[in-house]
Amino acid sequence: MRESRSLRPFYCLICAALAVATVPLFVSSDYFLTVFISVLYGVYLCICWNLVFGYTGLFSLCHQAFLGIGAYTSTVLYLNHKLSPWLGMFVGAFLSTALAVGLTFVCYRYRVKGLFFGIVTLAFAFVIQNLVMSWDYVHAAVGISLVQMDAPWDYYFMERSPYYWIILFLVVIALAVTFFIERSYIGYYLKAIREDEDAAEALGVPSSRYKILVMAVSAFLISLGGTFYAQFYMYIHPENVLSFGPMVTMQVGTMAGGAGTLLGPVIGWTFFGFFDEALSWLPIGSLSTATITRITYGVILMTIVIFLPTGMVGLAKRLSVILRIRSRRYSGE
């Protein structure tokens, strides 16, 4: 069954992105723009992780390290060497890519796969976090704070809307990369590696090369996201860019939406991101309300994995098939 080579879905994506881009034009409230930006940021993280986990089946638990490296590199270069974060973010991205390639290569060389790969990457991420926590040059446990100013050439904006467009642009780029990889031969290889790596290798797929490639691309992209985080939230600390927190975001969003699909991460984290923000709208009458809601969040997560492993996208596909069968039945009669 050949995949459709049509670019229609890509054009749809562009249309949707343009529609979403017009939001700042009629939403003037900073609050809502910030909520959208933080949801888009989460979506971006999920898309990057989806490339590695959803499409290739690599259980990478170190993506938060690349996020943090991106954030810290561009920030430190700016503070100490006056290098604009627009350039610094590429330095960070290249550093992350190099580390990703190195890590994946070492794992290939020592035949570390599956769950063990996950554990090695987790250990790697914790080592990076501990190092940054103890290294004075990057301000260790104190964190680095930036000052907001009007300096567009240095990635600082006084308004929220430029940040909105930047993160939207990043999301579109990441989706485009995913889309084109998915439909190309690389996509076939990655899927083969995900389904059964040994069989794929037996058929001649150079699995190590493509695993390294996809880890490199994913690390590069997520690193750019790290710089965005630094420039938007203006405060970076090992607890918010290097800890397991962002990884939970990536897992929840991707799994809930549907791993290995293009729109899965988008739908998954859009839902959870808004849900999370809605938690703070709850009245503070009963202090337990927020905690109970978070318990429900965990329960929903477990339910999705048990009953809906293909995520919301899978559910949508099944529903659309059912609807189509129904409509055909009615039109036939």
Binding site: P9, C12, V20, A141, V142, K317
Partner: protein, 417 residues
């Protein structure tokens, strides 16, 4: 064919869905709440869930208690008796949520925001306020960077970590002179959290000028085993320890002192875990003789305190602690500024805040000597308060004249307690 239709449908659903969502949300934005006359809207961003929740709950209690009292007394007189409408948001001990909390409050029309009992949250929320030109009054956080970024709308009413360190050092020197037994070899311990580490770095620069710092170390906040650290200090003959930690680890450290039979002349916590009541509750008798430099004790000889302590216990059945005191101070500063400004216009309010000169005892200001901001919006008038745990209570020993007891120094060794 089906596949193409499917993908296009997906794309269209996404477009439609997003547009609908955006339209709905912007409708919500447009519905402005009608501004009732003569009401001052005050926003509060605190951590009611998550790691900072115990401090956050205390803070929230005090905001309620004191603002309700203010309103009961007739509100702000220079504004014709305008009452304060306070709105709280929970930042869940997460910095990014604090940012969106602040933005939501600003959207709801607050004239000033209080926060945040968590440094990261304060950093982000204060930045949001500066951008929107709304005053941000930090009552509880000690991070130096909060007022170190040149933000003229951001104020810090409580001493920051550097000021606390200065106070701790001053006290220790005073103690040495008073008893004639000054320590020579000291150690610095700290847990890896923002203010603790900042204090540690500050002490690394300032302590060696006065004492011989023979041992200093940083440990992860989840650290459970301190026997190695204590053994090191014993080996080096450490006579006095300055500590920055959170409740869990400082309890474990004091226990390790007893286990390892480490008997320095004294040990001093700089804010952080040592001033938390749980420290005494967790250690019981073993907490005795610990020093701590912090913001407040309830036995300070300040008239207003007894009254507040009683009211607080009455309403919440809890002890009025240092976090509550910092909130009381912060509200006093706001009320004073509002009275002088005669308006809740944020910019005029900021100007009034800048010229604050309050004394202890005015409004609900409960810590000597009051509040006066320097050009960085830092309170340079308030003293730090050092207490020693005696008879299971935090009893002030410094500044002189405000406490009821004399410090015991050097503290008795473990086998003589």
């Amino acid at each position: 064919m089906n596949h193409r239709c499917n993908a296009m449908k997906n794309g269209m659903f996404k477009c439609a869905g997003t547009l609908l969502m955006a339209a709905l949300l912007s409708l919500v934005c447009c519905v402005e709440s009608s501004d009732a006359a003569k009401e001052i809207k005050v926003g509060i961003v605190v951590g009611l869930t998550g790691g900072a929740s115990s401090m956050g709950k205390h803070a929230w209690n005090s905001y309620q208690l004191i603002f309700d009292e203010l309103n009961g007394m007739g509100g702000i007189k220079s504004m014709g008796g305008a009452k304060v409408k306070y709105m709280v948001m929970d930042h869940q001990t997460k910095a990014d949520i604090a940012g969106s909390n602040a933005e939501k409050l600003i959207r709801d029309g607050v004239s000033v925001i209080f926060g945040a009992n968590f440094s990261d949250a304060a950093m982000v929320a204060s930045q949001v306020c500066q951008r929107s030109k709304i005053p941000f009054i930090d009552t509880t956080d000690g991070d130096v960077m909060i007022t170190g970024r040149g933000f003229d709308y951001v104020f810090q009413t409580n001493p920051n970590i550097n000021q606390l360190c200065d106070g701790a050092l001053l006290f220790t020197q005073w103690l040495g002179k008073k008893t004639g037994k000054a320590p020579k070899k000291v150690a610095i311990l700290n847990a890896q959290f923002a203010t603790g580490y900042a204090g540690f770095k500050y002490f690394e620069e300032t302590l060696p000028k006065v004492y011989d710092v023979v041992f200093k170390t940083t440990y992860p906040t989840a650290q459970q085993d301190f026997t190695g650290i204590v053994k090191n200090m014993k080996n080096l003959g450490v006579e006095y320890v300055f500590q920055f930690g959170m409740v869990a680890d400082v309890i474990m450290i004091t226990r390790a002192y007893k286990e390892m039979d480490f008997n320095p002349m004294g040990y001093m916590g700089v804010s952080g875990g040592h001033y938390n009541i749980d420290y005494i509750e967790g250690l019981r008798k073993d907490a005795e003789y610990t020093f701590c430099t912090s913001y407040f004790t309830s036995d300070l000889k300040v008239p207003k305190i007894k009254d507040l302590v009683a009211k607080y216990r009455n309403r919440f059945n809890l002890d009025f602690d240092a976090t509550d005191a910092t909130v009381a101070n912060g509200i006093s500063v706001l009320v004073d500024a509002l009275e002088r400004a005669g308006t809740d216009n944020p910019t005029k309010l900021r100007d009034a805040l800048k010229t604050t000169n309050l004394n202890v005892g005015q409004y609900w200001y409960v810590v000597p000597d009051g509040c006066k901001f320097d050009d960085k919006n830092r309170n340079v008038k308030q003293h730090t308060v050092t207490f020693q745990v005696r008879d299971g209570k935090q009893q002030a020993v410094y500044p002189e004249g405000y406490g009821s007891i004399e410090p015991v120094f050097p503290i008795p060794p473990w086998n003589k307690r």
